[in-house]
Symmetry: C2
Subunit: 507 residues, 2 copies
C-alpha cells in the first residue's frame, strides 16, 4: 500500500512541479467534464432576469454538452472555441453591448495552460425571486402582504477531477438557496424576532395566535434570541448540503457525467446584507477606501488539519489501516523505527518528539505543505461539493468522509457604511490568489478604477480583466510569465468584481 500511495504522491508532485496550480485529484481525466445535458432541473436562466424559471433552448444545452461556459458570456460557437484554446488563453468577459450583469458586476475568466482539457471553473450571476410558501407562521395574510423577496446572487465554482460538479453547482445551487428561503419570506419581512417554533398546520383558527408558538417557559431560564441574519446563514448552509446530496443522487443515477468535485464561493445580497459563503480555496475580499476586508478563508489540509485528524482518530475505520492520523514533518522511514521523530496529533498546534512505532510508518492522513498539502495523498482542498466517488489512488478507500460540504458564511452589512463607486467585493478562484496578494489586488483596484469615470459601468469589467491578465501573465520563455519574470498562474482563473457603491441597480 505504501508504494501505491507513494507513486500517487510522486505523480501529483511531478505533475504540479513546473507550474503553481494545484492538482486537486490524481485522476484529472477530461472525459468527466461533460455537463448534465438532461438534469431534472432546467438549465440556468439568462442573467439579470428575475425568477430563473425558464431554461435555455435545447440547442444551447446541446452545444454545452461538449464544453460549457457561463451563459452570461453569450459566446458564439467560434467564441466558445477561442475560450477553449490553451495556447492563446484569451480573457473572456460578457460583451460590452447589451444587457449588463446586475449591479454592473465585472467578470473575466481565462482557461488553464493545459492542466485540463477544458476550463473547469464555472460562474453564475443571477437575480432570484423567492415566492413565499403558504403562511408559515399561521398568521392571516393581508392583501399586498408577502410579495416575495429578491436576492442577488454570484457564484464561482472551481472544479477538479472533471467539470461536472462545478457545472451542476453553477446551474442549481442558487435554486437550493431559493428553496431554503421560501419558508422564510414572511418571517424575514416581519421586523419582530423570528418565531422559535412554527405550527404544523397553517390557517387553522388557533394557529393565528402566536403566543402558543413559544410554549410554556421550560426549565431553562431563558430562550435564545435568533436573528433574521442567522436564518439566512442557516438557509445557505443547508442549501450547500442539499446541493451536495443531489450530486450524490445524480452520480448514482448518471455516473461519470457528474464526476468530480468543486470549490464553491457564493455571494447572496438580501435585505441590505451581503452574505459570503465559502467552501474551498477560492477567496473573497472587500476593498473599501483602499482598506482590505477579508470576507472568506481557505479550507485546505493545512488549515483544517485538526478537524481531519480528529475524525481519523475518532473513526479509525475511515483510515482503512493504511493511514495514520498523526502528522510528521516528513515521511517516516522503516529504518527509523525506535528513533524519536517530531509529530502533531489532533489536539496539538505545537510539535513534540515521539518514539516511532510500526503504525507510524503508515502514510499520514495529512501531508505536504502549501499548495502541495494533501488529504490521503490525494486532494488539496477539504471543503466543497461533489467528490462522492473520490478514492485514494489505486484503493477503494473513500475520501469524501473527510471533506465537508459546509461553507463558512461571513456577513457584511451594506447599510453600515456609505460606499463610493471605488468600493468593490472581489471574488476569485485560486488561479488568481496563487500569484496575487490581497494588497496587489487592492493596488490594481485603485489603478484601474481611477482610469475610468466613476459612473462608467464598464470599469468593473476592465478591473476583472486586469486582475485575470495580471495573474495569467504573458507567454515567454518556458511558460506564462509575470512582469517580474515569476511564473504566472497556469490554472483556470475566474474573477467577479462586485461594486458596493457603484452604478448598480440595487437601490
Amino acid at each position: 500500500m505504501l508504494n501505491r500511495v507513494r507513486s500517487a504522491v510522486a505523480h501529483l508532485v511531478s505533475s504540479g512541479g513546473s507550474s503553481p496550480p494545484r492538482p486537486k485529484s490524481p485522476d484529472l481525466t477530461n472525459a468527466t467534464s461533460a455537463p448534465l445535458a438532461a438534469a431534472p432541473e432546467t438549465p440556468k436562466s439568462p442573467p439579470a432576469r428575475p425568477g430563473s424559471g425558464s431554461g435555455a433552448s435545447a440547442k444551447t444545452v446541446e452545444a454545452r454538452a461538449s464544453f460549457s461556459r457561463p451563459t452570461f458570456l453569450q459566446l458564439s460557437p467560434g467564441g466558445l472555441r477561442r475560450a477553449d484554446d490553451h495556447a492563446g488563453r484569451a480573457v473572456q468577459s460578457p460583451p460590452d453591448r447589451g444587457r449588463r450583469l446586475p449591479w454592473s458586476t465585472g467578470y473575466a475568466e481565462v482557461i488553464n495552460a493545459g492542466k485540463s482539457r477544458h476550463n473547469e471553473d464555472q460562474a453564475c450571476c443571477e437575480v432570484v425571486y423567492v415566492e413565499g410558501r403558504r403562511s408559515v407562521t399561521g398568521a392571516p395574510r393581508e392583501p399586498n402582504q408577502d410579495q416575495g423577496l429578491c436576492f442577488y446572487y454570484w457564484g464561482l465554482f472551481d472544479g477538479h477531477a472533471g467539470g461536472g460538479a462545478a457545472e451542476m453547482a453553477s446551474r442549481l445551487l442558487h435554486r437550493h438557496i431559493r428553496e431554503q428561503l421560501k419558508d422564510l419570506v414572511e418571517i424575514l419581512q416581519d421586523p419582530s424576532p423570528p418565531p422559535l417554533c412554527l405550527p404544523c398546520t397553517s390557517g387553522t383558527p388557533d394557529s393565528s395566535d402566536s403566543s402558543h408558538l413559544i410554549g410554556p417557559q421550560s426549565c431553562w431560564s431563558s430562550q435564545k434570541e435568533v436573528t433574521h441574519e442567522s436564518l439566512v446563514v442557516g438557509a445557505i448552509e443547508n442549501a450547500f448540503q442539499l446541493m451536495d446530496e443531489q450530486m450524490a443522487r445524480e452520480r448514482e443515477r448518471r455516473g461519470h457525467q457528474v464526476e468530480g468535485g468543486c470549490c464553491a464561493l457564493v455571494v447572496v445580497y438580501l435585505l441590505g446584507k451581503v452574505y459570503v459563503a465559502n467552501a474551498g480555496d477560492s477567496r473573497a475580499i472587500i476593498v473599501r477606501n483602499g482598506e482590505i476586508i477579508p470576507m472568506s478563508r481557505e479550507f485546505t489540509p493545512e488549515t483544517e488539519r485538526q478537524r481531519l485528524q480528529l475524525l481519523g482518530f475518532l473513526k479509525p475505520e475511515l483510515l482503512g489501516g493504511e493511514f495514520t492520523h498523526l502528522e510528521f514533518p516528513r515521511r517516516v522511514q522503516p529504518k527509523e523505527l525506535g528513533q524519536k521523530m517530531l509529530y502533531r496529533d489532533q489536539n496539538m498546534t505545537g510539535w513534540a518528539y515521539k518514539k516511532i512505532e510500526l503504525e507510524d510508518l503508515r502514510f499520514p492522513l495529512v501531508c505536504g505543505e502549501g499548495k502541495k498539502a494533501r488529504v490521503m495523498a490525494t486532494i488539496g482542498v477539504t471543503r466543497g461539493l461533489g467528490d462522492h466517488n473520490l478514492k485514494v489512488c489505486s484503493s477503494t478507500l473513500p475520501i469524501k468522509p473527510f471533506l465537508s460540504c459546509f461553507p463558512e458564511v461571513r456577513v457584511y452589512d451594506l447599510t453600515q457604511y456609505e460606499h463610493c463607486p471605488d468600493d468593490v467585493l472581489v471574488l476569485g478562484t485560486d488561479g488568481l490568489w496563487d500569484v496575487t496578494s490581497d494588497c496587489e489586488v487592492a493596488a490594481t483596484v485603485d489603478r484601474v478604477l481611477s482610469a475610468y469615470e466613476p459612473n462608467d459601468p464598464s470599469r468593473y469589467t476592465a478591473l476583472a480583466q486586469a486582475l485575470v491578465l495580471g495573474a495569467r501573465g504573458t507567454p515567454r520563455d518556458r511558460g506564462w510569465r509575470l512582469p517580474n519574470n515569476k511564473l504566472g498562474s497556469g490554472d483556470d482563473i475566474s474573477v467577479f468584481v462586485i461594486p458596493l457603491g457603484g452604478p448598480g441597480s440595487y437601490s
Copy 2:
C-alpha cells in the same frame, strides 16, 4: 431521565440566580476540597527559588490539609483564617516585606461570597530550572555547554466541584512542563532548526553525524520546518495532558481527595518569548501603551458548541440515549411534536427550522446562554484539568469525554517591542472578568500605575488589589455591590499583574 436532568438544571439555575458566579458542577460539595497531603511529588517550593526541588515541611503540609492558599502569600494560621472568611472577604496579597515575586509580579485574591466553603482558586509563581537530559541529538558535548534553561512560570487555577484538582495542578503542572522541556534543552539552545528525528541511542559514533537524522529524501517533495517556538508550545500542550492523566491515576488511587476539576491559565517565559496557555474560562490580556492585546480566549459550551456537537454526532454512545446533539433555542415540549422548531447542528452557525421528532425531545447536549450555558446540563466550562469522575446529575453518564484538557497557546515575543514599566500582562479568573471588561481593566492599569513611581515595585501588587477590589465591590444592601450598584462578583477572584518592562529581574 428528562425530569432528572431538568431538576439538575433547575437546581443550577436557582443556586446561581442571585449572583453572577457560575456553578460549574451540580455537586459543589466542600468535602472534596482537601488537598493531597501525601502526593508522590513534593509540595510546591517557596517562591522565586530556582529548582523547586525541595518541599515544604510536614507541618506545612498538615496545615494545608484543611485549607490551603498559595505559599507565596506566607499566611500565618490567623491570616489563613481571615483569608477563609466569606463575610469579610479580605483581599490577600504577598507581604510587602521580604522576597518579592519574580519580575515584581503583583498578585491579589479574595474568597467567594459563600458559593463554596473554601477559596477554590489556586495560584503558583515559580522560577524553574530545567536541567538537560543526556545529549539527545547525539552530538558530543562541549565543556560549559548545555547549562540548562530557566523559565519563569505563573499559573491560575480555578477549581470547581472541590478544590482538589486546582490544588494539585498548582503544585505540579510546572513540573510536568519542566519534564517536557528536559529533552529540548540542547535543541532550544542551538540556533539551527530543530532536528526532525533523533537517534534512539546517544553517544554512539555514528549518531554524532546529524545527516542521517533527516533520512533520505522521501517521496514527499519537502519536509516541514519546525520552529523552536512550536517545540515549546508542544511541550506545554503535552504537559497539560500528562497533568490530566496524573489526576486520573491519583483519583483512582486516592478517591475524593482529588475530586473535581479546574480551569488552568498558565504563562511561561522562556528565551525571550511569553507563552500563554489557557484551558477554561480564565483570561489573559496585555495592556501595552493603553492598547489591549487579547492573549487567550474562553472555552465554554457556547464557544465550543460545534466541537461538542460533532463528538456527540460521531460517538452517539457518549450521549447515552439521553441527550441529542442538536441545539434548540429553548427546550422542546412533547406537545410540539410534528411542529417545526429552530435548530443548529455541528455544521451550522446559522439556524434553520426542522420538524420535531421524538428524539428531539431528549435533553440537548449544549443548552443555555452566557454564564448559564451547560454541557449535559452540568458543567459550564469545556476545557480544563480533572473532572474524571464528573457524571450527569443522578446518572452514570460521564461528561469527561466532552471536556478537553488541551490549552490554546498564544505566543508573545517580548523582544519585538520596547516595553515601558506601565506595560503589563494581566491574568484573572472568571471572578474578575464576569464583572470587569478589558477596557475597564486597561483604565485601572492606567489609573493605578500612574499614581506610583515607575520604579516602585509595589505598584503591581497595588494594581492587582485594585482589580480584585473593583470586581468584588463593597457589602451593601443585598450583597456585594459595585459603585454603579450592580452586583459585584460573588465568585473567588484571583489576579496576577506581570510587568513586561518593569523593574523585573529578567534582563
